[in-house]
């Protein structure tokens, strides 16, 4: 490899072989290979229209679908020490963080919002796999604590969408300490008698599974999501045998009693509404055309949210 093959040739190629279609118009399903038109794919919540494969979806896109009218207030998360261990592998940790921020346009690997879902007040937190594999460090820990505190304050359920490769190694032991820290957050909800629903998405592994992801009142997973403590590769290396088909996938976990339900992304919102309303002792959700909300009620709600914002 030299200057010509590394630099000149790609430049020449790029001049002569211009792409026929802009990159972002089409995406390929990782499962069946079908080319999918981006708008259609987005409308279908990043689920392949051909084979039903669930692809990654960003927390903001998920929230846009989850909350009524896509409207939610972002819950502030206390920002921790950015590089507590002065960690350095082949790159410096702050550089990796910056790259992830640039790539995702998000602060960190978890987004917390509060608003209404089918006219049911909720707090939702969503892990972002595209941000350093959704890994759990101090920020994610703080986000879950903030989400639990907000839910207790608003006396509403917490719905948590998990997606993570595990703990954030670059925060060493402090990432491990998020296992007890997030468990404290779940304890707060439990004591306040508020529902804590976990939606496990692909993939949820390691320390994340071994803490808040497995402590829900109700566990729902998206189809075919990988959910495990130790990954299949590690296990194959340890026991030196092939693992059965579908091992550690959502349906397999459902069979082994670790989940309540496996639900397609498109049906998730309705199901969450049904479950949370029952657990909160509310009337069944009104489906179909909703009457316009009572104006005084809406004003009360606005006041309430404003009040909360000024106190938080």
């Amino acid at each position: 490899m030299n200057w010509i093959s590394n630099y000149v040739r790609p430049r020449i190629n790029s001049i002569f072989s211009r792409r026929e279609v802009p990159e972002n118009l089409w995406s390929k399903c990782d499962e069946c290979g079908t080319m999918l038109f981006h708008r259609e794919l987005a409308e279908n919540l990043n689920v392949c229209t051909s084979c039903g494969h669930h692809m990654q979806i960003s927390p903001r896109d998920r929230f846009a679908n989850l909350f009524d009218g896509g409207a939610f207030a972002e819950v502030d998360v206390p920002v921790p020490n950015a590089d507590p261990l002065n960690f350095r592998d082949q790159k410096k940790y702050p550089d990796r963080l910056k790259a992830a921020q640039k790539q995702t346009d998000e602060k960190e690997a978890m987004l917390v919002g509060t608003g209404d879902m089918g006219r049911t007040p909720i707090v939702a937190a969503c892990q972002d796999f595209s941000f350093m594999a959704g890994s759990m460090g101090m920020y994610v820990g703080n986000a879950i604590i903030a989400a639990a505190e907000k839910a207790v304050e608003r006396q509403c359920p917490l719905i948590l969408f998990t997606a993570a490769g595990g703990a954030r190694m670059q925060e060493g032991i402090l990432s491990l300490m998020q296992m007890p820290r997030t468990t404290v957050a779940i304890e707060m909800l439990k004591e306040a008698n508020l529902p804590y629903i976990v939606v496990l998405t692909h993939p949820t592994t390691g320390g994340v599974t071994a803490s808040y992801a497995m402590l829900g009142d109700v566990h729902i997973a998206e189809p075919n999501a990988l959910i495990c403590f130790a990954g299949p590769r590690v296990i194959e290396q340890t026991i030196r045998e092939k693992l059965p088909e579908g091992f550690q996938r959502a349906e397999y976990l459902l069979d082994h009693g670790m989940l309540d339900r496996v639900t397609e992304r498109g049906k998730m919102r309705d199901e969450l509404i049904t479950i949370t309303r029952m657990l909160m002792g509310l009337d069944p959700a009104i489906t179909g055309d909703l009457p316009a909300p009572d104006i005084t009620e809406a004003e009360d709600m606005l006041e309430a949210v404003k009040g909360e914002d000024s106190t938080s």
């Binding site: 592998d89 703990a167 300490m177 007890p180 468990t183 296990i235 340890t238």
Partner: protein, 318 residues
């Protein structure tokens, strides 16, 4: 017969020479080698001191994993009386990687729980090298629950490479078992004191070590991932474990700075395995003092939760 670690080879050579000289002298009484042998002893002692006062993080991992290091069983048999093992998770099996039961510490009843690695091939296999399966965590949960109901302080001894990564363990809910065990640690009203005596391997350790007081032996380690695992992920080369061990801040001394470890327990010169009795006595004294710091009559839950919520905000810099 001492088992030397790789980095102790120069030491093994000197100590071997001294032993050889003495053996020769025993065979031939006219030889006067004592001066020479003592000089070698002194050299060996100096080298040992020099090695062990400057242990790198990776070497600490090796010492923490040393086969001759005192294990959970040794601590329980020496420090506790009337130890009555309790077995089983009432659901599936008894996990021999986790031992635990009722015992008396300083004459007072407590619940003691720990990972046991085993000390020869047969017992290591039986103990699964200290790698617990879900049954182990569920047994621990059951024992902690019992301790809580009867007002007995809980003492955990942590020494595990990590939770077992196996097919059955996953099917029976390894992650759920670990999560519930951590949760149980946080729910206890009674004092919970934990000592990391060797390896504190990731989630498998947290499940026992979410405690009011966490002490670590001076050459024990506690980490989110093994240096080898970290190296193969971040450096894409498992041989970079020395660098990874450094970066992870897994030594007792660094964890004390970070506030994860509350107390460092001294080890004899040359590591716990060179003087087991002294090590066990040191650990016993530390457990006694930590229990004395915690008021048994008070509900400890709120304080323990606060400890974990506040943890790690400042990082190493502060």
């Amino acid at each position: 017969m001492t088992n030397y670690l790789d980095f102790e080879k120069p030491l093994a050579e000197i100590e071997g020479k001294a032993a050889e000289l003495r053996a020769m002298a025993r065979a031939n009484e006219e030889m006067d080698i004592e001066d020479e042998a003592q000089a070698l002893d002194k050299k060996a002692a100096d080298l040992l001191q020099q090695m062990y006062t400057t242990l790198t993080p990776w070497r600490k991992c090796l010492v923490a994993r040393h086969a001759d290091r005192p294990h959970c069983k040794d601590y329980i048999s020496t420090l506790f009386t009337e130890y009555t093992p309790l077995a089983g998770d009432r659901n599936f099996a008894d996990d021999h990687a986790v031992m635990g039961g009722l015992a008396r510490f300083d004459g007072k009843p407590v619940m003691v729980i720990g990972h046991e690695k085993g000390n020869d091939t047969k017992s290591r296999i039986e103990r699964n090298f200290g790698m617990a399966r879900p049954e182990g965590y569920r047994k621990a949960i059951r024992l902690m629950d019992m301790a809580d109901r009867f007002g007995l302080p809980v003492i955990t001894l942590v020494d595990t490479p990590g939770a077992f990564p196996g097919k059955g363990a996953e099917e029976r809910g390894q992650s759920e078992a670990i999560a519930r065990s951590t949760q149980k640690c946080l729910q206890l009203r009674v004092p919970l004191v934990s000592v990391i005596i060797g390896e504190g391997g990731s989630g498998g350790a947290v499940a026992f070590a979410t405690a009011d007081r966490v002490a670590m032996l001076a050459h024990s380690v506690y980490s989110v991932i093994s240096p080898e695992g970290c190296a193969s992920i971040l450096w894409k080369d498992a041989e970079k474990m020395r660098e990874a061990a450094e970066a992870l801040r897994l030594t007792a001394q660094e964890l004390h700075q970070l506030g994860v470890c509350d107390r460092i327990i001294d080890e004899p010169m040359g590591g716990a395995h060179r003087n087991k009795d002294e090590t066990i006595a040191n650990v016993g004294a530390a457990i006694g003092e930590m229990l004395a710091e915690l008021d048994t009559g008070k509900d400890r839950t709120a304080a323990r939760r606060k400890k974990y919520l506040d943890l790690g905000q400042k990082g190493l810099a502060a």
